[in-house]
Symmetry: C2
Subunit: 443 residues, 2 copies
Amino acid sequence: MSIDSTTLSASNAVSLIRQGNLTVEQYAKALLSRIAQRDPIVHAWAYIDPEYVLDQARKLDRVPIEHRGPLHGIPVAIKDIALTKDMPTRYNSDIYRSSHSSSVDAACVITLRAAGALLLGKTHTTEFAATTDGGPCVNPLNIGHTPGGSSSGSAAAVADFQAPIALGTQTGGSIVRPASYTGIYGFKPTWGAISREGLAQYSISCDTPGFFARTIEDLELLTDVYRFEDVAQPEQATEFQIQGARVGFIKTHVWDLAPAGPGLKEVWEKAKNLLIEHGAIVEEIDWPDDDFNKLTDWHWAIINGEGRSAFHGHYTLDKQNLSQFLVDQVENNLNFSREDLLDALDRSARLRPIWDRFSERFEVILTPSAPDIAPEGTHFTGDARFCGPWTLLHVPCLNLPGISGGKSLPIGLTLVSGRYRDRHVLKTGKIIGDIFESTKANS
Amino acid sequence: MSIDSTTLSASNAVSLIRQGNLTVEQYAKALLSRIAQRDPIVHAWAYIDPEYVLDQARKLDRVPIEHRGPLHGIPVAIKDIALTKDMPTRYNSDIYRSSHSSSVDAACVITLRAAGALLLGKTHTTEFAATTDGGPCVNPLNIGHTPGGSSSGSAAAVADFQAPIALGTQTGGSIVRPASYTGIYGFKPTWGAISREGLAQYSISCDTPGFFARTIEDLELLTDVYRFEDVAQPEQATEFQIQGARVGFIKTHVWDLAPAGPGLKEVWEKAKNLLIEHGAIVEEIDWPDDDFNKLTDWHWAIINGEGRSAFHGHYTLDKQNLSQFLVDQVENNLNFSREDLLDALDRSARLRPIWDRFSERFEVILTPSAPDIAPEGTHFTGDARFCGPWTLLHVPCLNLPGISGGKSLPIGLTLVSGRYRDRHVLKTGKIIGDIFESTKANS
């Protein structure tokens, strides 16, 4: 065999393994070799034990064909805020630096393992997936830049061909933003579509597990594994084609707030022109209600209000080893009242069905993933404000990797829709993503 | 010392330990002796290791005074769906019968331990705190009856003087109902006031950790430990007295639906008369909006909709060992659509601020805890429908133990309020609870 299995998509690897053209051990060895070479530079991993991985791989190779699951032998990188029964979970927290394995898998990890996935290791996160202090993980496309956060290592591992797919979580923009910065697909499903049991908690109203991959097929494979079911679809969506499709481009209030940088402005125009060239009916749209402009403030009030109880346990255990940002939440040093929290929860809840209904007017809606390319340095994982409103609206978000702009680093755009239109987002995202990716091949 | 420490409240035990009049070891020994005597009958415990408990107790006795927390030496019973680093967590699930310790504490357990609590053991729950199949735990007041569920063992342990306080959770009525059936205080705080990290997940929108105790002071001690903060209080509430207080009695639509049994009807009238005798201005009230009548259906749609993802991991791991009720949720055999779920989530969210504002018209609002005394047998843990609407409204609920009705088993009433009025509920509950309890002394 002369295939370089590190560049395989999970879907292709599934086929090769099923056909007997690739063993799980071969696949694991190739990735471990890539990791050994690249980890001293990229630092995607918080924990990995190559011997254990190979041991698991060999066990998987011995599983009879009829007992193999839909992800049989597929290596998955796990963000280090998800409990794993055979690997420690350390949350990039000084409190838990020496933690051992928990003997418990997070619910979403149970599913991966039961489907036959090979858990490769735990990936770097910012502290409790809440802070924006980055490092040690860097952007594999340019190590002078951040890979984004908080799912830094998961994004970097997939972008750098160290794993085909990775588990991440998003409370603000922790899947979409790193996917944009590292040029891969990042998928934050509808809030509630995947259990959050066994994951670190920050904002119970916003925390959402999701995935990184290099192809949409791989994300669709995962939605099958997790038994995703959409709301009933409008007839038009069953056979999506770009010709004649209504595509909304929504800058949102964050465009001026962040503000949008030159890279984003360029990609935005390119994307519109590209879709028009392909026959789409492109329209710049705005929020359907003025209250949507407040989602940024409400998101901030909610994560601060909910962070008070979320980090309280760690605070009582070892306040000294908790970063000031988290201490401030528990002590409510920003002085959010309970009324602020309730007002933000109730008023954002009111907007969810409004958005769902509005979104049905378009077959595709695109919005920025981040203000620009990944910022320089690793001290700051970047501005999540383009993502926050969507996270709070609970809608599926799919980062489509950037249209080539001739830059050293990519910028993605996010495909959004209404709640429980996850499969719709992936199906339409495949068409749009292919159009975007075709510009890379030509550039 | 001749005190029977098993009957102490946690607050009194804190004082005795602080003053050096009771050691943690003495206290633990007394409770372990009670447990040894009673557990073969009551079956409150899913896991307890007396030697380990005594070892921990002796360690706590050696902690210097200046390093002792607010719950120093207080034994706490933990519902067996909360992860504990030194005890197994088995969820009363055939899948996890032989699970070992997780080496991780649920967030709410971290706080208890950091405050100096002595974790006594894990208490019986229904399967994943979701089913209503009871046993082996029985009602300590009459072993031919259920203690309620899903927090069966936590309620039974506290009611039976096997622990002064216990951790429970409520998704429908799993704290309030068993508290009513066993004649103790059961407190379900505002949703979100305590982190749910490390707890089994059923309905992310409804699951709420809370506590059982035999006194309100003990619940207030816990709200201090968890740093509860109320919304700003109306002036009147700062000095609550029953004379002249406006007390609303709300039967809700469940009164006819359940329907209310003879025991409840008797307690309902007794409670009204009693409060009128004490000078309260008592008023029978109704929901402020017709949509509140739909909360029962919406609660059912939500737990079914959210149960689909909650139990998916266990289902993929070992469907054969999951009870049919949970399989039905994952497979959606009751055919709830995503639209049903979203409609229920959105419309119940709309009612929350309406209830909050309405509730401020009354200093106290009382509502049924359960349709009657605990049902006979342990096969069914009882009807939770009186509690479901409040759980979904996210408001604090406090079961006040029953007014003596000369029956063999008690019936409680629930004090409810608006969100983040937890301290208010406990403060007013203390006055009302004392009035109710005084009838026992006289009967």
